[in-house]
């Protein structure tokens, strides 16, 4: 099934723009993040610490709603879902 990945600001530049990824049925948000990290060295460094843990400043959204980091490992994705990744906001 296909999942759309959108990234913004510094993370968009590191990942290289919007992605549509083919993921296995019952894929989790955590699994998807690992796939995004595999896109390039730059993407991996932008998203993950050397330990493999998601960097502290990365904010996650699933279909427009915030996802807590602790939930990412178990959140199951569905066909057509949109996942967004971004750094702390700086509008205003």
């Amino acid at each position: 099934m296909q999942v759309r990945v959108r990234a913004f600001a510094r993370l968009r530049e590191a990942i290289g723009g919007e992605l549509t990824l083919e993921v296995p049925r019952d894929a989790t948000m955590g699994g998807l993040l690992a796939m995004v990290g595999d896109v390039s060295q730059e993407a991996r460094e932008a998203l993950f610490e050397e330990s493999g843990e998601l960097r502290g400043h990365v904010i996650l959204m699933h279909n427009g709603s915030r996802v807590r980091r602790a939930e990412a490992a178990t959140l199951t994705l569905a066909e057509g879902d949109e996942v967004a990744l971004f750094p702390p906001v700086a509008g205003g």
Partner: protein, 138 residues
């Protein structure tokens, strides 16, 4: 009105859109691109659909917290030069205090949670402005 747009706005036209005879004050905040040490322009980027929804949530919060009559928020995105308008907040109310308080509340909430980012573009290169908040999910 709530809007995330590339277009500039006309301050007087926006004030006229919300003013009503029962409002004794319309507090207006206008954010503009500041010339910070060699800055030439800013590139603003938004997760637009979510930014609009979040601004609508913030407007609704302001209406439930303060006795106010109208709220307008227009946040621009795209490339903006020094001196150009970034953000307009108008709060109309019967009295000044609630209008000032609500305007400040809306501005601080925008900085906290609306998915918009700014990149500074200067003579010496480019830099993303660091965000102030992770939105409470560290």
């Amino acid at each position: 009105m709530i809007s995330v747009t590339r277009d500039d706005f006309d301050l007087n036209a926006e004030l006229d859109r919300v003013r009503r005879p029962d409002m004794g004050g319309l507090v207006t905040f206008l954010g503009v691109v500041r010339n910070d040490g060699g800055l030439e322009a800013m590139e603003l980027e938004a997760y637009e659909e979510v930014a609009v929804k979040e601004l609508e949530t913030i407007r609704d919060e302001a209406f439930s917290r303060f006795p106010i009559g109208a709220v307008t928020v227009i946040h621009r995105i795209g490339r903006l030069r020094v001196g150009e308008n970034i953000l307009l907040i108008i709060v109309g109310a019967g009295h000044r205090k609630e209008a000032f308080d609500a305007c400040e509340y809306i501005l601080e909430r925008i900085k906290q949670s609306v998915p918009i980012w700014k990149k500074e573009i200067g003579k010496d290169g480019e830099r993303w402005v660091p965000g102030e908040s992770s939105g409470g999910d560290a």
